[in-house]
Amino acid sequence: MNHIIDILLQHSFFVIALVKCALLLFIILTVLAYLSLFERKVLAHIQSRWGPYRVGPHGLLQPLADGLKFLFKEDPMPAGVDRFVFLLAPFLSLALALTSLAVIPFGPEPLRFTILGHTFVTSLGIVDLNIGLLVLFSITALGVYGVALAGWASNSKYPLLGGLRSSAQMMSYELALTMSVVGVILMAGSFNLREIVTAQEGRMFFGLLPRWNIIAGPFPQLIGFFCYFVAAIAETNRAPFDLPEAESELVAGFNTEYASFKFAMFFMGEYANMITVSCLATIMFFGGWTSPFPATWSFTHFIPSAILALLGIFLLIDGIRYETILGKLVLPGVGTVLCVLSGLLLFFAPVNAYIQGPFWFLSKVFVFIFFYVWMRGTLPRFRYDQLMAIGWKILLPLSIANVLLTSLGILKWGLR
């Protein structure tokens, strides 16, 4: 036993990295499942209806039911498909989408913990690469294969055309995506995501506004953010750019011949891409983990516990009025746990100070994901030729113009 512990301590770097990967994977897969429920509820409320309501209180067990359904459904393989590529495509899509979450930093301060007398220090975030942004773009570039191969491997006309359309759309918007980020790279001077966030610390304009890339520096990156977000929505095949996918709701699309768990893998990959893109948007344009309030306003440090307490009290009060036993017991129970957590946060000040960074990061990511779902429920989708025209004729020139103007701004006024 001691021998094993010695080996683990000798290679503690790899062991900690493995543990962090497993933890992040577990958290992200749960978040993905509940993101599907979140999307359905928000879409439903936009359309004046309730959404999933019956499976568990407020539909909270719906992702579990969906997951079980996907696992137990029949998994047909059409005749004449290339088996290897047919099985590879959803796996590639999901694996690449999950891998891109490895380079995202979630918080500023490293985590220090002590086990069995040995102290370990790791940063929040799996790796800290000097080319983190480029690695993200390379994974996005490889993500085209999941869709293209899925469409081709289905051995059918409509998936082939849907897959080709979708992959052509992804490739066109990749250009605008990468060009729109160049302004941020110029202002931060590095591809390292942590350095991009730390370059946005501090205040401007008499200490009133945070120095986020979207409003600060020699040239505020408004055009850059607009191009980036639109290109990102098109890149992840979400509404209003989801014509290749919407065809699958009506007639066909690249995932026609995929059923049960492979279909679920495609959609988990799509949600994971959504999360990655939202994380990138907050890191590059909205300051990542920096708080929008000045550091001197220390009462804003109580915002996380305030939100937890409010949510807990609401769940307590709402759960007691439920008719089913599950609602009567589970919801107030969860509410009590949240209230206790919020109280503990107020009690342990170092923990409260530590989670400020991740809290602001996750709230901003949540706002972007809400934006994504909001847009899906509100905007009609583009026709395919309109879609390609926007990508090539509007977004690409705009992003190149953004690069030019940012460089001019930096030349004239210098950084900061």
Partner: protein
């Protein structure tokens, strides 16, 4: 057996396996996928040498653009599996011995010259070094290459234009 050596051997084996699959696969799509594996393995080898920017750009450009073009062409042309034809008799007899001889010559040449040559300067390994080299000393070839790409784009435009 340092970790660097282990990673090198893994990546090199992956590249060689990908290259052999590229040749031996019957369906062109499998060959294209094997070539993507080779590109990614090469990017890993560049990363092992410390050329981070080149590794990332290798995946973005080769794996994400050029190979996608290959895959599109194979998909659109609907190329089926290759037929099994009989191999020529000379290839069957002299194929493997000649391949082994070629690898032997290459290995001997590399061993002889690797002991004599000094380490190459690493001015161009970081992104900053690479960009300084590219835009100061090699700016003329850089602009010439952009001319080449412009000629290719013009050719594609002319070919794709509908005849009036």
């Amino acid at each position: 057996m340092t970790p660097v050596l282990i990673v090198f051997f893994v990546l090199a084996a992956l590249a060689v396996l990908g290259a052999v699959t590229l040749i031996a696969a019957r369906h062109p799509i499998h060959s294209a996928l094997a070539l993507i594996v080779v590109m990614v393995a090469l990017a890993g080898l560049y990363l092992l040498q410390g050329a981070e920017f080149v590794a990332a750009v290798q995946i973005i450009v080769y794996g994400g653009a050029i190979m996608v073009l290959f895959v599109f062409v194979i998909m659109l042309l609907n190329a089926g599996e290759e037929e099994r034809t009989s191999v020529s008799r000379i290839a069957r007899i002299a194929g493997i011995p000649l391949a082994l001889a070629l690898s032997g010559f290459l290995a001997a040449a590399v061993l002889r010259f690797s002991q004599a040559a000094p380490q190459a300067p690493v001015a161009a390994s970081s992104t900053r070094g690479l960009s300084l080299l590219l835009f100061r000393e090699f700016v003329f070839p850089f602009e010439l290459t952009s001319f080449l790409i412009l000629v290719a784009i013009l050719g594609a435009l002319v070919l794709a234009q509908r005849e009036n």
